[in-house]
């Protein structure tokens, strides 16, 4: 990075822009990921076929599974940028008020806005678990990478309700994170009118609800026996 760009990125507004752009990349990925998951409602074969197809995107230009690796590198970079900007802004905020108030009215902002930082930590921990569970298969009861639908169904079997519960908690945390995060990203990227504010908040709410419903449908359907 040249000096001028670095000067911009190191300001509070510049860091917010990094957070917003990386956040948008991650939300777009989530929407694609969620849509793919819903394939399980068609049939397990359709889901397995979709999972295999993901590895063949870009062929023959890209060798087998290269697309997936490129996507993973982009996502990893986005996650690192997101966490870097969040951490450095959180530290600056902490330093900005060295002496606390003896009497402080509870912050009125939404629950979602107040839980961004800890919510983010929960989401990171979940993602680590989730990758070890359904990507690498280490924590999965079956862990057969050639039959992803089988892994999924074994994972959320009724007897393993605690796994489902953990997923539910994580997805709800994510939904709250998005409810404030999407609005905040739009604002950071320049949403500037009061009517636009209502619209941006509505968009954020819709994204949060769609993501929550879409991601919860699969594990809940398996645990309740809707999908076998």
């Amino acid at each position: 990075m040249d000096l001028a760009t670095r000067r911009v990125v190191n300001t509070t507004v510049g860091k917010k822009a990094v957070m917003a752009v990386t956040g948008v990349i991650l939300v777009l990925f989530l929407i694609a990921h969620m849509t793919g998951n819903l394939k399980i409602f068609l049939s397990t074969e359709s889901f397995d076929h979709y999972a295999h197809w993901l590895r063949t995107i870009g062929e023959p230009l890209l060798p087998y599974s290269w697309f997936l690796w490129i996507q993973r590198i982009v996502l990893l970079a986005a996650v690192i940028g997101h966490i870097w900007s969040a951490t450095s802004l959180a530290l600056k905020a902490k330093a900005a008020r060295p002496v606390k108030y003896a009497h402080r009215r509870p912050v009125k902002g939404s629950y979602a806005a107040r839980t961004m930082r800890w919510g983010g930590v929960i989401i990171v921990l979940f993602v680590v678990y989730h990758i070890l569970d359904l990507t690498t298969g280490h924590l999965n009861p079956v862990g057969d990478s050639s039959r992803p639908a089988g892994n999924l169904i074994a994972d959320f079997a009724p007897g393993r309700w605690y796994v489902t519960l953990f997923y539910v908690v994580a997805v709800l945390t994510l939904a709250f994170h998005l409810r404030h995060g999407v609005f905040s990203a739009l604002r950071t990227l320049g949403q500037q009118t009061q009517t636009g504010e209502r619209r941006a908040k509505a968009v954020a709410l819709v994204v949060a609800v769609v993501i929550a419903v879409g991601f919860l449908a699969v594990p809940l359907s398996i645990t309740t026996g809707l999908i076998k």
């Binding site: 802004l89 330093a95 900005a96 008020r97 009497h103 949403q191 009118t193 009061q194």
Partner: protein, 249 residues
């Protein structure tokens, strides 16, 4: 009415402070909050004690000098009201009221409830002005301004720079103040020549002063005595990103 006050007392910038309890009696509900404090100070002076130092000037809600965190709310419990315009009828007989100074690294305590807000002046010096030849007033219609822009600029211009936004912000951010100035000047034709430079310099001055970043929580707008819209921060962000692109070109 009779009240118990718990007030932050601190002899000087380097001194350690603490909350001290006082009783005030026969407070009239028609008094302003500052008049109630004047009454306490009179009693303290007569008793040979040091009066409580607090900032004030116009007492009309227009200068931005008064401050005070009252029961954990900047400028007290009433919306869109400065401390000087807050009346005691909003409190009840027997109440205990906590009074603290604005808390922020960029607003160090000078004495008791008085804080040094010159970090706001530094933000203004960095770009909160226009460079135009003065002289005789130009004709009112010489530079047309669309009505909507004039209204929005005026709304932002009502900011009195009191610092309540910083005091209330969970991140100790001065973004609403900075956004009000950027909006006010950036919407008017006279503010255009310095528009890019202004926003960049003001943000650097803001960050250098030790203010935190904005998380769009909206506490600032809740306590702002002038109700500066939160959306003005979006305008600041947009101007900042645009200006950054044009200087890197």
């Amino acid at each position: 009415m009779n009240l118990t006050l718990r007030i932050w007392r601190q002899h000087g910038p380097e001194e350690k402070g603490r909350m001290v309890k006082y009783r005030v009696e026969d407070v009239s509900p028609d008094m302003s909050f500052l008049e109630m404090l004047d009454m306490l100070n009179e009693e303290l002076t007569l008793a040979g004690d040091e009066p409580v130092a607090f900032d004030h000037d116009c007492r009309e809600g227009i200068c931005g000098m008064c401050s005070l965190m009252i029961n954990g709310s900047a400028h007290g419990p009433e919306r869109a009201t400065t401390t000087c315009q807050l009346h005691m009828r909003h409190f009840n007989d027997g109440d205990t009221i906590d009074i603290e100074p604005w808390r922020a690294r960029a607003f160090p305590v000078v004495k008791d409830l008085v804080v040094d807000r010159s970090s706001f002046d530094r933000i203004i010096q960095a770009g909160g002005y226009i460079s135009a030849p003065t002289g005789s007033a130009p004709d009112a219609h010489a530079t047309p301004v669309p009505k909507a822009d004039a209204d929005a600029a005026f709304e932002a211009a009502t900011c009195i720079g009191c610092g309540a936004c910083v005091a209330a912000c969970p991140n100790g951010s001065g973004m609403l103040f900075t956004a009000a100035k950027v909006t006010h000047l950036g919407l008017l034709p006279q503010g255009q020549p310095e528009r890019d430079e202004r926003v960049l310099n003001m943000i650097h001055a803001h960050d250098d002063a030790g203010f935190g970043g904005c998380t769009n929580t909206g506490e600032c707008h809740e306590v702002c005595p002038k109700g500066i819209p939160l959306a003005s921060i979006g305008r600041l962000n947009r101007d900042f990103l645009k200006a950054s692109r044009s200087i890197s070109r």
